[in-house]
């Protein structure tokens, strides 16, 4: 069972539609128990990190998420879902986040249009199953004003140019997270979800 976490963020429907389109069944849930029982979890995200953390706390999802990831179960974070994995964010001052990945979240520097909105290339820094069938420098859809800076650079699986090189895909074991929105990135975006789910469900196709 694939769980998509509903913590009150927007764009849940788009993620559900994408997973359905791929032929998988997903369960939308706010329940820590259901999440822990899932074979794979997707944490979608649109909005502000502080609100996201508050909502996750209210729903009692913070420790379960930490636990699920610590056990190396397949977990996919999208946009805000990438940012909150970090130690903290500059957004709205300073807010503590989940602290699963050492590093900070910073505002994109002035000089360029903010948010970073539109299609931009993802340079694949490592060979990884998440990129199966996806050409290097394929375009994905971004819409964000903050970016992540992991202390451990080896976690950066994909990079994108916007002012400087920003981390657009992070991979650590079965934890994958993207700054872009796969569900808004057309066919290559759908392929990203497909690659994640196929890995999560094992080598056998399970539809």
């Amino acid at each position: 069972m694939i769980a998509i976490i509903d913590y009150g963020a927007g764009n849940l429907r788009s993620v559900v539609n994408a997973i359905s389109r791929l032929g998988y069944q997903a369960r939308v849930t706010s329940s820590p128990q259901e999440m822990l029982a899932a074979q794979a979890v997707i944490l979608p995200g649109v909005g502000a990190a502080a609100d996201t953390m508050t909502n996750l706390q209210t729903l009692g999802l913070v420790d379960p998420i930490r636990h699920f990831i610590a056990e190396n179960h397949p977990f996919f974070g999208v946009c805000i879902g990438l940012q909150i994995l970090f130690s903290g964010t500059e957004e709205g001052g300073w807010h503590e986040c989940l602290g699963i990945i050492p590093g900070v979240v910073r505002r994109l520097p002035p000089g360029l249009k903010i948010p970073h909105m539109g299609w931009n290339q993802v340079k694949q820094k490592i060979s990884h199953p998440i990129f199966d069938g996806i050409p290097d420098e394929a375009n994905f859809y971004f819409v964000h004003s903050y970016y992540v800076e992991p202390e451990d650079k080896s976690l950066v699986a994909g990079e994108t140019e916007y002012g400087s090189s920003i981390c657009s895909v992070m991979a650590k074991g079965n934890l994958i997270a993207t700054q872009f929105h796969p569900e808004k990135s057309g066919e290559v975006g759908l392929r990203i979800y497909d690659n994640f789910i196929k890995s999560a469900l094992g080598a056998k196709e399970n539809r």
Binding site: G10, N11, R13, S14, N17, A18, S20, R21, V46, G47, A48, P110, K113, I114, P115, H116, M117, G118, W119, N120, Q121, N139, Y141, F142, V143, H144, S145, E161, Y162, E183, K184, S185, G186, E187, G189, L190
Partner: protein, 258 residues
């Protein structure tokens, strides 16, 4: 680097597309969901639906269009037309729209921008702005017009550049600039207006109204410094395909997703 966006725009009335593209086979050219799917497969970067139905009775029809589109099309799409309250915006977003566009309602109630941005995030709130050159003004000034759906609309006395700046301060995440002078003429966008807006705000600016061909889009993105272009007529009559446009722009050095 970030590419420039090509965004087909569909006017929807009572759940049907007005001036749909001519399909070569039997597909329904009036069905917005069909057309959205077609543009998605053709390589559109985003889509915009404007609901131009006069009556708000047709709101449920539009919501159904949004829901069906969201289940088939995996690029961002924006819905505008007649959205007057935060609830209106919420309904569209919940149905599957990624962004909502507000125009007249924002001028009459700027708080709508703030409330919308606070509730859904700035990236979901697009300000649509119709502007007309003030005759004889030097340096050039443009006046914001509202109710442009019917009879050319009415002037507000607001300076377009100042309104754009204010809207961004209030929380708008993107501005769509429509030149009343250029709209529908297919003679090109108002480049001076576009550039003035683009240089005044830190959010993305979308050019709307006036495209006759690929050269116009090129100018909007270069001289006009726009981040994206909306186009309706040039796609709807089948004059140019999205890939024609994109190939042209890429060949002229514009960063484009192909």
């Amino acid at each position: 680097m970030l590419t420039k966006r090509i965004i087909p725009c569909l006017d929807v009335k009572g759940g049907r597309v007005v001036k749909g593209v001519k399909f070569r086979d039997h597909r329904d050219a009036g069905d917005p969901v069909e057309l959205a799917g077609f543009y998605y497969r053709e390589g559109a970067d985003e889509l915009v639906f404007y609901d131009i139905t006069a009556s708000s009775d047709n709101r449920p029809i539009m919501l159904e269009v949004v829901e069906r589109t969201a289940s088939q099309v995996f690029i961002p799409f924006t819905v505008g037309g007649g959205l007057r309250t935060v609830e209106d915006m919420h309904r569209m977003l919940k149905a599957g729209a990624d962004k909502v566009s507000i125009n007249t309602a924002a001028v009459e109630n700027p708080n709508l921008i703030t409330e919308g941005a606070k509730r859904f995030g700035s990236q979901c709130i697009v300000l649509g702005m119709d502007a007309q050159r003030v005759p004889g003004s030097s340096p050039t000034r443009w006046e914001v017009f509202i109710y442009t759906g019917a009879d050319g609309g009415r002037g507000t006395g607001l300076d377009a550049i100042q309104w754009a700046r204010k809207a961004v301060e209030l929380g708008a995440g993107e501005i769509v600039v429509n030149s009343i002078d250029a709209d529908g003429t297919q003679a090109g966008y108002d480049l001076e207006l576009l550039r003035a807006v683009s240089e005044s705000v830190t959010v993305p600016v979308v050019a709307s109204g006036g495209a006759g061909g690929p050269e116009d889009l090129y100018q909007a993105l270069v001289s006009g410094k726009a981040d994206a272009v909306l186009a309706a007529s040039i796609f709807h009559y089948g004059t140019y395909s999205i890939s024609d446009i994109k190939e042209y722009l890429a060949n002229r050095g514009i960063p484009i997703r192909v």
